[in-house]
């Protein structure tokens, strides 16, 4: 943390960069799960509505998509502003692609696990996330 605030680069060699890249990919997956947990909490908090045209399924779907893109954007910005400064300037440009890939992993994990949960709990609140339904 102290290093981040002072922006003292800790990644100085290509080998260290490779190690950081792997960590970032794993963190990306974890970020996807964290955002998914937030999405689950929000979906559960939205109350069921009755009637012939209830609005609650649409609200849950909206939050699913908002958090989907938020997971990518948030993780990308986190890497850009908190991780990249820790890399030596001559190696920073090489971290851009891993950043994009890791953020995509966050989005992908969120989406795949989210759709899996939507099919498993298809008659519950999470079922409203389903992209494809019969």
């Amino acid at each position: 943390m102290k290093q981040i605030f002072l922006k003292i680069p800790t990644i100085k060699t290509p080998m260290q960069l490779d190690s950081l890249t792997m960590q970032t990919y794993i963190l990306g997956a974890i970020a996807g799960v964290v955002f998914l947990v937030i999405a689950i909490l929000i979906a559960k908090a939205i109350k069921f509505e009755g009637g012939s045209n209830p609005k609650d399924p649409g609200k849950r779907r909206l939050w699913f998509w908002v958090l989907l893109f938020a997971s990518f954007i948030a993780f990308f910005l986190y890497n850009m502003y908190f991780v990249t400064p820790t890399i030596s300037p001559n190696l920073q440009s090489k971290f851009m692609t891993p950043n994009i890939i890791a953020s995509s992993i966050a989005l992908g994990v969120y989406f795949v696990v989210g759709q899996l949960l939507a099919f498993i709990f298809s008659t519950g609140k999470l079922g409203n996330w389903k992209l494809f339904s019969r």
């Binding site: 908090a45 109350k47 069921f48 509505e49 009755g50 009637g51 012939s52 298809s122 008659t123 519950g124």
Partner: protein, 537 residues
């Protein structure tokens, strides 16, 4: 008890409202495994209360599947009801006593003798007023004419007459005759001066004589049991002014209700025939009168017809409870008795508890059934938007399909609409301006000062407050509430339970439900019963 046959006769405007209360008691499921034949009698065929009650019963019968319906148990709408509608013909050349009696027919001497005899019993105005709005508190005339019209109906049917009302009365009489000694007949009506007061003393004899006229070898079994409500005055209405009295000549005056009740009670106490006929008479009263003309800007007293649509009152529910007691009683039917019940009364208002209605041993059952039906009403009308122009019952049925419970997806739209309509008549509805239209239970609540069985907010007359009402907190006792946590969602918990808990599925053995809509109602009843935990505590 299993072979007992049950009959209810509702007479007059008050009798109609008592039948309405009785029907709602059946709808919440208090008459398991029973088939009940109901006869409505009113001289005022266009009476607003009469049409409201009969429409309600017609809706109930459709929900049960019409004539093919069967009694069920441990659910809503368990009793099978059959309705027979009778009204004397008071129109055209039968509009007045004078016309019916043929006082102006025959030779001069015959006419003179007949008039002299009539004048002994009835004033001239009484002989000439129009009967199409009822007997207008002329009970001496009413008793005579009511007996006459029942007996006449039997004669007409014997001669091959096809008047619908006469045929329905005849069909009802046949059922009482066939029931033999197992017949339990309960008569609902008031004693303070209307059609009910006229009819209560003479109905049993009129029915017996009518059966004998239809078939001289038939008779109502001497051991058939009769009971009745003695409902004394509980409301008043706008007193007719001098001009209206002069115009109408004969008109009911609510200032006389107390005197009429007193006279009737004294008569029942002393009359040997009444004592011999009625096993039990349930005396029901109310300490202060509701003003049924409050807020009415009309200058004239309403004498009857479609305009007479008085709000419901808790006294009528007690009359329905009296019928419940009479039908389920095993002891105390050997000899005539007049019974009553009292309730906690403090600071000028009653503090009713569930046990005050059907007794302590039935208190929890009544609490559960009334509460679950009221909660069901909130679900249909508020949660499923039945009160906002949609068919709430149909919306709830569609939810079952979303839950992958396909059992009810073939439930017809008409079936769902009948449930929707009944629930609104029971509880409440909203008009297009956002006002709450009180249904039966709301009107019952409004007739009571002070608290009434449930949370006060359950009966709010503010649309927003009522729409947001948390029906999981319907009961004041914490142990009977559910979904009480932060952001507690009773509708969500109801849906979750119906969807995931297999123990709330309808039980064909215990509930005897076969038809789709009855299985749907049983499923809903089981779910709410489980959530409120009244019967498991």
């Amino acid at each position: 008890m299993a072979t007992e046959k049950y009959f209810v006769i509702g007479i007059g405007g008050t009798g109609m409202r008592c039948i309405e209360a009785f029907t709602h008691l059946c709808a919440i499921g208090m008459f398991d495994n029973k088939e009940i034949d109901i006869l409505s009698i009113d001289t005022d065929t266009n009476n607003g209360n009469k049409s409201r009650s009969e429409q309600l019963i017609d809706t109930y019968i459709r929900i049960k599947g019409g004539a093919q319906g069967k009694p069920t148990a441990n659910s809503f709408f368990t009793a099978k009801l059959n309705i027979y509608k009778f009204a004397p013909e008071y129109s055209g050349n039968r509009l007045t006593y004078e016309l019916i009696s043929g006082l102006n027919t025959g030779s001069d001497s015959v006419k003179k003798d007949n008039k002299a005899l009539s004048d002994l019993f009835f004033d001239d105005d009484v002989q000439k007023f129009k009967l199409d709005h009822g007997y207008r508190a002329q009970t001496h005339l009413g008793s005579h004419l009511m007996y006459h019209c029942i007996v006449e109906a039997a004669k007409n049917v014997l001669k091959g007459g096809q008047r619908k009302e006469d045929l329905e009365l005849a069909a009802f009489l046949d059922k009482i005759y066939l029931a033999g000694e197992n017949a339990r007949v309960f008569i609902l009506g008031s004693i303070f001066g209307g059609t009910g007061a006229s009819s209560i003393p003479i109905i049993p004899k009129a029915l017996r004589d009518a059966v004998r006229i239809k078939d001289k070898n038939a008779e109502i079994h001497p051991s058939a049991k009769f009971g009745c409500s003695l409902l004394s005055e509980y409301f008043s209405f706008k007193v007719p002014d001098g001009a209206q009295k002069k115009e109408q000549k004969i008109i009911a005056d609510s200032n006389n209700f107390s005197l009429n009740s007193q006279a009737a009670l004294m008569f029942y106490q002393a009359d040997a025939t009444v004592k011999k006929t009625y096993k039990l008479m349930y005396h029901i009263g109310w300490p202060k009168r509701a003003n049924f003309s409050e807020g009415d800007t009309a200058t004239k007293t309403i004498t009857g017809g479609g305009e007479q649509k008085n709000p419901c009152h808790i006294s009528e529910l007690f009359c329905a409870c009296a019928a419940y007691d009479f039908f389920n009683r095993v002891e105390g039917l050997e000899q005539h008795d007049i019974v009553f019940r009292s309730a906690n009364f403090q600071n000028e208002s009653f503090l009713f508890e569930f046990q005050d209605f059907l007794g302590e041993d039935k208190a929890k059952e009544f609490m559960n059934k009334l509460g679950t039906f009221l909660a069901f009403s909130h679900i249909i009308i508020n949660a499923e938007k039945g009160g906002f122009g949609q068919n709430g019952a149909e919306n709830l049925v569609k939810k079952f399909k979303e839950f992958n419970i396909p059992d009810y997806i073939n439930l017809g739209v008409n079936d769902a609409k009948d449930i929707d309509d009944f629930v609104k008549a029971f509880a409440f509805n909203y008009d297009t301006k956002g006002n709450v239209i009180p249904g039966w239970i709301f009107q019952i609540r409004q007739s009571v000062d002070g608290p009434f069985l449930f949370q006060t907010d359950a009966f709010s007359t503010n649309q927003k407050q009522l729409k947001d009402f948390h029906f999981g907190k319907l009961f004041t006792q914490n142990e009977y509430q559910f979904a009480t946590g932060w952001r507690g969602d009773p509708y969500g918990l109801f849906r979750d339970t119906i969807q995931k808990d297999t123990s709330v599925k309808p039980s064909p053995e215990k509930q005897k439900v076969e038809r789709l809509n009855e299985r749907f109602l049983a499923h809903t009843y089981n779910t709410l019963t489980k959530l409120f935990k009244i019967l498991s505590n």
